[in-house]
């Protein structure tokens, strides 16, 4: 069966220098080399390369994706398969090297034309220190790319151009690890347990974009499709990837390969449960009948796998919850005990005060629910302070406009920023919806 060894290289500091490489926790990056990789594509007009570390008085604006460089050193295929020119071979076997605590951060201001096409293409920020530094994205070290593209690109090309440049940089940095011995190794396999244990499936629901040609992808495939069975090792090798348009945090590439659900289920596999794998079901279908069909087929797959229990997760918000809830209902009705891991109230959550902490607003904590959803683990709701202080350094762009309904409300990125005043329906803090419970922002009042 599929066995994947992850070799981890923790990054404890980054410096600029040539040639680039990794040794004993120190990552040396050749900024000129990385800039040249961005500019290989003539559609990339400008590229700035910055090194950003936690604790700095730095604010990163216009965050579009975060990508952890990973490299396959043994076994078929390429990390992050079937996107950005990578081959589509099935991944999840062999040896993969990864950085730990380090990622490539892609920043690009959304041109007005793109914002008109996708109103949710909002501006996100990451603060590296201070009261806004509550998400996991404030704890990583970054090579941050700030890219400006040719002005005439359409939405799909804009997305592909940005992602491809970021993956060229990611692949270059991952290449530093090719010949090295990893300080830490961990092997992952779903070998059948020696005794009969409760069989558990991870129902990994994944938003599909209603705007054609963009959205998070499974092996490069962005369209809505019926559910697919993935081995968790495929996900660890990057089979699920984000887009560069809508920076909903549950869709970013980094969180897919660092989804804490995967190692935690692996830890339990063979001990007190048998993990059957991940059914990946797309959400945000347009018609009620499509939502039903997707849910029904997800339930059927779980039954065919012989699941006794299911862990349902989602990476989004809004009407995606209908098919998620219908799935939970169907699983329970099929006798499959189901637990749901979820955020609460996903909009209008800008300022957290103790009075608002329960639901984040006057809205119910979940948009839609079914009586069968009787075992729910909450990762809570956003905790940001009312305003963010000024920062001495800015990366990604000098000004921000957070509310797409008020594009004229522009503030200097360096701040201070009154989030309550400046924001629209969503918090601009990247990582604010903590679908998998990684950050510390969720536990304000729990």
């Amino acid at each position: 069966m599929m066995r994947l060894e992850l070799g981890s290289f923790p990054v404890e500091s980054i410096r600029s220098g040539s040639p680039g490489g990794y040794a004993s926790g120190l990552l040396t990056v050749d900024q000129e080399q990385l800039r040249a990789r961005c500019l290989e594509d003539p559609r990339v007009v400008e590229a700035e390369i910055d090194i950003v570390e936690p604790g700095e008085s730095t604010r990163i604006a216009h965050v579009r994706d975060v990508i952890e460089p990973r490299l396959k050193v043994a076994g078929a295929g390429h990390a992050y398969p079937a996107i950005c020119g990578h081959p589509p071979d099935t991944v999840g076997e062999g040896v993969t090297h990864q950085y730990e605590g380090f990622a490539v951060l892609l920043a690009a201001e959304v041109p007005e034309r793109i914002r008109r096409a996708v109103s949710a293409a909002a501006t996100s920020i990451v603060d590296m220190s201070g009261p806004g530094a509550v998400t996991v994205y404030s704890t990583l070290r970054y090579v941050a790319l700030t890219l400006r593209l040719e002005p005439a690109l359409d939405l799909v090309e804009w997305n592909e151009t940005l992602l491809s440049a970021a993956h060229r940089v990611s692949d270059t940095l991952a290449g530093y690890l090719r010949e090295l011995e990893p300080p830490r190794r961990h092997a992952y396999a779903l070998d059948p347990p020696s005794e009969r244990l409760p069989r558990v499936v991870h129902v990994h629901t994944l938003n599909g974009s209603m705007v054609p040609g963009i959205g998070s992808t499974i092996y490069g495939y962005a369209k809505h499709a019926l559910p697919l069975l993935l081995h968790p090792n495929e996900i660890l090798d990057g089979a699920i990837a984000g887009d560069a348009v809508v920076t909903y945090p549950g869709k970013c590439t980094w969180v897919q390969v660092n989804n804490p659900v995967l190692p935690q289920l692996y830890e339990r596999h063979g001990t007190d449960l048998e993990w059957l794998g991940c059914i990946v079901s797309r959400t945000r279908w347009g018609a009620a009948a499509e939502k039903e069909l997707s849910a029904f087929q997800t339930v059927k797959l779980a039954r065919m796998l012989g699941a006794d229990g299911a862990l349902v997760t989602w990476n989004h918000g809004g009407n995606d919850l209908i098919e998620v809830m219908l799935t939970i209902q169907g699983l329970e009705q099929a006798g499959i005990k189901t637990v749901f891991l979820t955020i609460e109230s996903d909009i209008k959550v800008v300022r957290l005060t103790p009075e608002l902490a329960e639901t984040g607003s006057h809205e119910p904590p979940l948009l839609f629910s079914v009586p069968e959803a009787d075992a729910i683990v909450s990762t809570g709701t956003l905790a940001a302070t009312t305003s963010l202080p000024a920062m001495t350094r800015v990366v990604g762009g000098d000004s921000v406009a957070f509310d797409f309904e008020r594009p004229d409300v522009v503030a200097p990125t360096s701040g201070p920023l009154d989030l309550e005043e400046l924001s629209g329906a969503y918090s601009p803090l990247f990582g604010h919806f903590d679908n998998y419970g990684i950050g510390t922002q969720s536990y304000f009042d729990y």
């Binding site: 018609a287 009620a288 009407n319 209908i322 839609f368 629910s369």
Partner: protein, 72 residues
């Protein structure tokens, strides 16, 4: 109300919910062509008139019959 997502409308307490087509186009279906789309839109409006004149005691769903929806 006409809703592409009746489960939410009903759970929110909408008394008379007419099932729409889909989120992208609630009150019609451009894939049917202009004549078919117009006929479907008329059906939806007529169903709304049925609904608004119906006695209801709890949130109630009014669907467009499949045969009606497909009729040119």
């Amino acid at each position: 109300m006409v809703s592409a997502l009746p489960p939410i409308a009903l759970q929110a307490g909408g008394n008379r919910v007419v099932k729409g087509v889909k989120i992208e186009h609630v009150c019609g279906d451009p894939s049917l062509g202009s004549t078919g789309d117009a006929a479907l839109r008329r059906r939806i409006v007529e169903r709304c008139l049925d609904a608004v004149s119906a006695e209801v005691t709890k949130p109630t769903l009014f669907e467009i019959e499949e045969a009606e929806a497909a009729a040119p």
